[in-house]
C-alpha cells in the first residue's frame, strides 16, 4: 500500500456540450505527498477534481483513489476522501457544531463520536467561540475553515482541496496555509488546485500544470524552474554618457561590461534594452554582487541597479502557457511599453519550451 499511489488519473477526459473541459489529464500522487495542480481559470482543474472525487463521471480515461476505481467503486472512494471545493458546502441554517455533527453522522461515525469529533475540529480551527452560531453569520475565512473541518470529520486518508484560498484575505490565506501544512505533516495525501503560483510552490511536493484541459508540465517546483533556467543577475548600466556618444557609447559600455562579468557567468551573458541591461546567469554565492559591481567599476562601467532574479513559478507558467491568468496577462501586456523590466528579464511570447538560443534577446558568447 505504501508504494502504490493514493491518487492516479490516466487520460481523464470530460466534455460539456461542445466544450472539452478536460482533454487528457494523467497524474499521480504518492501516499503522504502533496500534488499542486496549477492552471488558470477554466483550465480544467475543478473538473479534474470533480471526476476524481466521483462528483461527475469521466467521459474517457480512468482514475483510482486509495486504490479504488472512481467509477466502479465510487461509493467506497467517497469513504476514503475529503473534499473542499471553491464554494463552501455548508448548511447556512445550521450552527458550526450541527454542520460537523451531521457530516459525522452521515459518515457513519455514530452520534457520540460525531459530537466529539466536531468539538475537536472546531477547537483546532479556532471556531469554538462560533460553534453555536449559525453559519449564515460566519465570515468568509470562518466558512472556509469550517468547510475544511467538515472534509476532515471522517479522517480521510486522501484530501482534495479545490482552490482552498481563493477569495480569502491575506491573513485568512496564511492561516489556511498553516492548516494545510499541519495536515500534510500528519501524513494526509493531498491534491490541491490553485491559481496561485506561490501557493503551489509553498505547499506542494510536486506540481502538475494544466492548461486547456491538458497537462503541459509535471515535476517538482525546482524541476519546473530549471526549465526556465537558474538564477541570474540583472545589471542595469548607468546611461550617463548616452547624450555624449549615443548608441555607440552604450554598445561600448555593454561590450566592456559583458567582458568584465564574463568570469562570474554560469552561461551565456545576454544584453537587453539596447545594451543597457546585462542578464548574467549565475550560481548564487556570497558577495557575488559586490564582485560583479567591482569588476564593472574596474573597466569604467557605471551601474545603476543590480538585482538577483530567481525564476518563479510565474515565469514557468508564462513560459509554458504563453500567459494564461487574466490579471497577470494584463500586467504582461503593459510590460513592453514600460521599458526595462528587470524583474522579468526574459521575453516570453508564448512558445512552449522554446530553446534559449531562439530568444529575441541578443546572445553574447563568453
Amino acid at each position: 500500500m505504501s508504494t502504490a499511489p493514493m491518487i492516479e488519473a490516466f487520460g481523464l477526459r470530460k466534455r460539456y456540450g461542445d466544450h472539452l473541459a478536460v482533454d487528457d489529464v494523467t497524474l499521480e500522487v504518492p501516499e503522504g505527498k502533496v500534488l499542486g495542480v496549477l492552471g488558470p481559470n477554466g483550465a480544467g482543474k475543478s473538473t479534474t477534481v470533480r471526476m476524481l472525487t466521483t462528483m461527475t463521471a469521466p467521459d474517457g480515461g480512468s482514475g483510482r483513489v486509495a486504490g479504488l476505481d472512481i467509477v466502479a467503486q465510487a461509493r467506497q472512494v467517497r469513504r476514503s476522501i475529503g473534499v473542499t471545493g471553491q464554494d463552501a458546502t455548508l448548511d447556512e441554517q445550521l450552527t458550526g457544531t450541527q454542520n460537523l455533527v451531521l457530516v459525522g453522522e452521515l459518515a457513519k461515525l455514530g452520534r457520540r463520536q460525531a459530537r466529539l469529533r466536531a468539538d475537536e475540529l472546531l477547537a483546532h480551527f479556532e471556531l469554538t467561540d462560533a460553534a453555536g452560531r449559525i453559519v449564515k453569520t460566519y465570515s468568509g475565512g470562518m466558512r472556509r475553515r469550517l468547510d475544511l473541518a467538515a472534509s476532515l470529520v471522517a479522517r480521510p486518508p486522501v484530501l482534495f482541496l479545490d482552490e482552498p484560498t481563493t477569495g480569502l484575505d491575506p491573513a485568512g490565506r496564511q492561516r489556511m496555509w498553516q492548516i494545510i501544512a499541519d495536515l500534510v505533516a500528519d501524513g494526509t495525501t493531498l491534491l490541491l488546485t490553485t491559481q496561485y503560483l506561490d501557493e503551489a510552490d509553498a505547499l506542494a511536493d510536486s506540481i502538475t500544470v494544466i492548461d486547456h484541459g491538458r497537462v503541459i508540465a509535471q515535476g517538482t517546483a525546482a524541476q519546473l524552474k530549471d526549465r526556465i533556467g537558474g538564477d541570474s543577475l540583472v545589471v542595469t548600466l548607468a546611461d550617463a554618457d548616452a547624450d555624449a556618444d549615443g548608441d555607440a557609447g552604450a554598445d561600448a559600455d555593454a561590450d566592456a561590461g559583458v567582458e568584465a562579468v564574463g568570469r562570474f557567468a554560469a552561461g551565456p551573458v545576454r544584453t537587453d534594452d539596447g545594451g543597457r541591461t546585462l542578464v548574467v546567469p549565475v550560481v548564487a554565492r556570497r558577495a557575488l554582487t559586490t564582485d560583479v559591481v567591482r569588476s564593472l567599476d574596474a573597466v569604467g562601467v557605471a551601474v545603476d541597479h543590480v538585482e538577483i532574479h530567481r525564476p518563479s513559478l510565474d515565469d514557468v507558467f508564462f513560459a509554458l502557457t504563453g500567459g494564461g491568468t487574466g490579471a497577470a496577462t494584463g500586467d504582461r501586456a503593459a510590460g513592453p511599453a514600460d521599458g526595462p523590466r528587470p524583474d522579468h528579464p526574459f521575453d516570453r511570447d508564448g512558445v512552449v519550451d522554446r530553446p534559449r538560443a531562439n530568444r529575441r534577446v541578443e546572445e553574447v558568447p563568453v
Partner: protein, 289 residues
C-alpha cells in the same frame, strides 16, 4: 494553532472495500434518512415562517371558509356546512402543503450543501426520502391544526377518535405521495422561487376544482366530472366518511365518489410508484455534472 497536538488523521488505513450486506446497507440508509430529516426539522425550527402553510394557513382557511360560506351553502343530503367543510379543509391544506417539498428540495439543490452530501457515503434516495418525511410531519401537523380549529368552532366528528385518526391517516398518506410528485417539480425547476410558482399553478387548481368546498351537485356538468374523479375530492370524501360527517359526493354514481378510500389509496400508490423512481432519476441527472 499548531501548538495543539490534535489527531487530524489517525485513521489513515483505507476502509474495507467489500460491499456491505443488504441488511447493513438498509440500516445505514435508515440512519442517513433520520439524520437528514432532523436537519430539515432544524431548518423549520430556525425559520418557523417556513411552516406557515402547516400552521397559520390551516387556521386561517378554516375560519375564513366556514365563516364565509357557512351561511350561504345548503348541503345536499343535509347536515351543516361546518361538518361538510372540515374534510375539504384537510384535503385542501394537505394538497397545497406538498409544495413545501418542491421548495425545500430546490433550496438544497441551489445551495452548496448538496455537494457536501454527495461527497459523503449516502444514497441519493436518502436525501429525497428525508425531505418527504419532514414534509409528512408538516402535513400531519397541518391536518391536526385543521381538526383542532374545527373542534374549537364547534365542529364535531360523527365517529370517535379512531375515525378522525383514520381520516387524517389516509389524507396524510396521499399528501405524502404528492410530496414525491412535488420533489420531481423541485428537481425540474431552477430555483426555489420557480418551484413555489409552478407548485401554485399546478396544485391550486387541483385543490379547488374538487368537492372540497362545494358539493358536486352545484357544479356544471364537465366541472362535476373533473371534480368527481379528482383524487383531492376523494381525499375530502374519505375524510368526511371516516369523520362521520355528511358526504354529499356519495350521492353521485361514480366509483371515486362511492368508494373514496380505495380510490384515494390507489392514487397514493400510483403516484409513489411513478414519482419516487422518477425523482431519484432526476436527482441523479441534476447532480451528474
Amino acid at each position: 494553532m499548531s501548538t495543539m497536538t490534535i489527531d487530524l488523521h489517525s485513521g489513515a488505513e483505507v476502509p474495507a472495500t467489500g460491499v456491505p450486506g443488504a441488511a447493513a446497507r438498509f440500516t445505514d440508509w435508515c440512519y442517513d434518512v433520520w439524520s437528514l430529516t432532523r436537519r430539515n426539522l432544524i431548518h423549520v425550527w430556525r425559520e418557523p415562517a417556513q411552516l406557515s402553510d402547516a400552521t397559520f394557513q390551516p387556521v386561517l382557511f378554516t375560519l375564513l371558509f366556514i365563516g364565509l360560506f357557512g351561511g350561504a351553502m345548503s348541503i345536499p343530503g343535509g347536515g351543516s356546512y361546518k361538518g361538510f367543510a372540515i374534510g375539504g379543509l384537510v384535503a385542501m391544506n394537505l394538497t397545497t402543503a406538498a409544495m413545501g417539498t418542491a421548495v425545500g428540495l430546490s433550496s438544497d439543490l441551489t445551495s452548496g450543501v448538496i455537494d457536501r452530501f454527495r461527497t459523503l457515503p449516502i444514497a441519493r434516495s436518502a436525501i429525497l426520502t428525508s425531505r418527504t418525511i419532514s414534509d409528512l410531519l408538516a402535513s400531519t401537523l397541518a391536518a391536526t391544526i385543521v381538526i383542532a380549529t374545527g373542534l374549537a368552532i364547534g365542529w364535531r366528528p360523527g365517529t370517535g377518535v379512531g375515525g378522525v385518526i383514520a381520516g387524517i391517516a389516509v389524507a396524510v398518506a396521499f399528501s405524502y405521495a404528492l410530496s414525491w410528485f412535488c420533489a420531481c417539480l423541485g428537481l425540474l425547476v431552477r430555483d426555489p422561487e420557480s418551484a413555489q410558482a409552478i407548485g401554485m399553478v399546478i396544485l391550486f387548481p387541483v385543490a379547488f376544482v374538487s368537492t372540497c368546498f362545494v358539493p358536486p351537485q352545484g357544479l356544471t356538468p364537465w366541472l362535476r366530472t373533473v371534480a368527481n374523479w379528482n383524487p383531492v375530492s376523494a381525499m375530502a370524501g374519505a375524510c368526511r366518511d371516516l369523520f362521520g360527517n355528511t358526504n354529499p359526493a356519495a350521492l353521485q354514481h361514480t366509483f371515486p365518489a362511492q368508494h373514496p378510500v380505495p380510490y384515494l389509496l390507489a392514487w397514493t400508490v400510483a403516484i409513489i410508484v411513478v414519482c419516487a423512481p422518477l425523482a431519484s432519476h432526476l436527482l441523479r441527472r441534476r447532480t451528474a455534472d
